[in-house]
């Protein structure tokens, strides 16, 4: 996933690449329904997860004046419990979002702020040095964020193959009523 530090610097190719590592349960990614809050897991690949995280990063980036390219719209998912229908980017868990936020703050935004303010302070100190009353500033950044750890994943959900879509997912079987991919009402057998 790439983004630009400043609009005017984007033209100079000042682009950063960020790698987010997150452990999946095999091929499954845990999700949380944006309506009822219950958990389920979908099959996932890294490209789609990055695309789903991009809107979240854009919101954080806006606070730091960092432009992140508009992502493609993510697919729709259906909660297998309450049938609520929403974009997959709205059904990410708080844990994943918190994990991604810590990484992007640690690896990108805080170092960026440090560089930016360091430069400003350097310029200020140069300008204010000498004379009768010399002024100087010092930058104290917050402590570096510890690299976050993902997992371990609790084995609280069961694999189910949705015959309508021929895809599998993980649900709580006793309360699942519909396919998470197409919304078809189903019975678990």
């Amino acid at each position: 996933m790439g983004f630009h530090e400043d609009d005017h610097e984007a033209d100079n190719g000042n682009q950063h690449q960020l790698q987010v590592t997150y452990s999946l349960d095999g091929e499954y990614l845990r999700r949380s329904c944006s309506s009822c809050g219950r958990d389920f897991k979908t099959q996932a690949d890294s490209a789609s997860i990055v695309n789903e995280l991009a809107p979240y990063f854009r919101k954080i980036g806006a606070e730091y004046n960092v432009e992140i390219p508009e992502p493609e719209e993510s697919d729709f998912l259906h909660c297998p419990y309450c049938s609520h229908n929403d974009r997959s980017s709205e059904m990410l868990t708080e844990e994943l979002l918190e994990h991604a936020k810590r990484i992007i703050m640690r690896e990108v935004f805080l170092p960026m702020m440090e560089a930016r303010f360091g430069e400003m302070i350097g310029d200020f100190n140069k300008a204010c040095s000498g004379g009768i009353l010399g002024l100087s500033m010092d930058l104290q950044m917050p402590n570096k964020i510890i690299r976050p750890l993902p997992g371990p994943e609790p084995p609280d959900l069961s694999v189910v193959t949705f015959l309508c879509c021929q895809k599998s997912g993980k649900v709580t079987p006793s309360i699942a009523e519909c396919c998470m991919y197409c919304g078809t009402r189903t019975i678990i057998q």
Binding site: I146, T161, V171, P173, T186, I187
Partner: protein, 306 residues
């Protein structure tokens, strides 16, 4: 050691919560979160089942470790190569910090930090995070081992679930062929289907026409046994008519399966528009029935008794 699924889920959730609180929350709350994490390690059955054997196996000396830290040349000399010993040492260090031995300050000074929050931060990176990674992997191993393999479940669309009164298999035959058809009836019943046979499924005194009609309405297939005895007349002709009617009404959810035996008479005209099979023997006929039925049976499981 086996653990219940709920217990595993609770332990993993609590472990993650207390781990993340310790690693990521404000340094001012470090002591509080450390105490909570160590309390979890001691009280939780799953965590303590992992930690206690390792602690019993290795004797660790944190004072010696601090000396090594001050005299270090490379980080690989500071912690043991053996992962279990590494875990035991890091846990001992955490417990000593929790007991207020001033270890945080010693570690901080050795790593070039002077302020308390910087010391805590470097301590979390240097000692705590690798411990959490190691312990998390062990937890995952234990929970995967104690979660038995589950049968794969299927989510079947409601449109594919038939009602109980639409799954019978009507067996149309000349009475003289009953011994032959009875073999099919018994085999279909044994594997889980619901075959319909006049002898078995029509109560004495019942109206034959009405019972035949009901038999077809509740069926998903009609099997016609065309032998040298079969003639398209009377009740057999009615059965052909009913079968064609049900096929028109139910479409793909009704199959007309015609089995032509050697030296049989002609297949009835109305049935010739549906593909029929020349069968060499009963097994061949049974195969064609199972293949042509619009129903499928459920997942494999062991019988209760034979």
């Amino acid at each position: 050691m086996l653990f219940e699924k709920d217990q595993i889920t609770r332990t993993l959730r609590e472990f993650k919560r207390k781990r993340d609180n310790l690693i990521h929350e404000d340094e001012a709350l470090f002591d509080q979160h450390l105490e909570q994490f160590l309390s979890l390690c001691q009280k939780d059955q799953i965590l303590s089942s992992i930690i206690r054997p390792i602690e019993a196996k290795f004797t660790v000396d944190t004072a010696e470790w601090v000396k090594k830290l001050h005299n270090r040349n490379s980080s690989s000399e500071i912690f043991p190569d053996n992962l279990e010993e590494d875990l035991a040492l890091r846990l001992r260090i955490l417990k000593d910090v929790n007991n207020g031995d001033g270890l945080i300050v010693q570690v901080g000074h050795a790593l070039g930090k002077r302020k308390r929050d910087e010391m805590i931060n470097i301590f979390l990176s240097f000692v705590v995070r690798p411990l959490m990674e190691n312990l998390g992997e062990r937890l995952e191993e234990v929970t995967n081992m104690t979660s038995p393999e589950e049968r794969d479940l299927q989510a079947v669309p409601l449109s594919r679930i038939p009602k109980s009164n639409e799954t019978k298999i009507f067996l149309s035959h000349k009475s003289v062929d009953k011994p032959l058809v009875k073999n099919y009836y018994n085999a279909l019943k044994e594997i889980g289907f619901s075959p319909w046979l006049d002898e078995a499924d029509m109560p004495a005194g019942s109206n034959l026409e009405r019972e035949l009609l009901r038999g077809f309405q509740e069926s998903c297939a009609a099997v016609f046994f065309i032998t040298d005895n079969y003639k398209d007349e009377n009740f057999l002709a009615t059965e052909v008519d009913y079968a064609v009617r049900e096929k028109r009404r139910k479409g793909d959810k009704f199959s007309i399966i015609t089995l032509r035996y050697p030296e049989s008479l002609a297949v009835p005209d109305l049935l010739q528009t549906y593909i029929y099979k020349d069968v060499k023997n009963d097994l061949d006929g049974f195969y064609h029935i199972c293949r042509a039925l619009p129903l499928e049976l459920g997942p494999v499981r062991w019988k209760e008794s034979i």
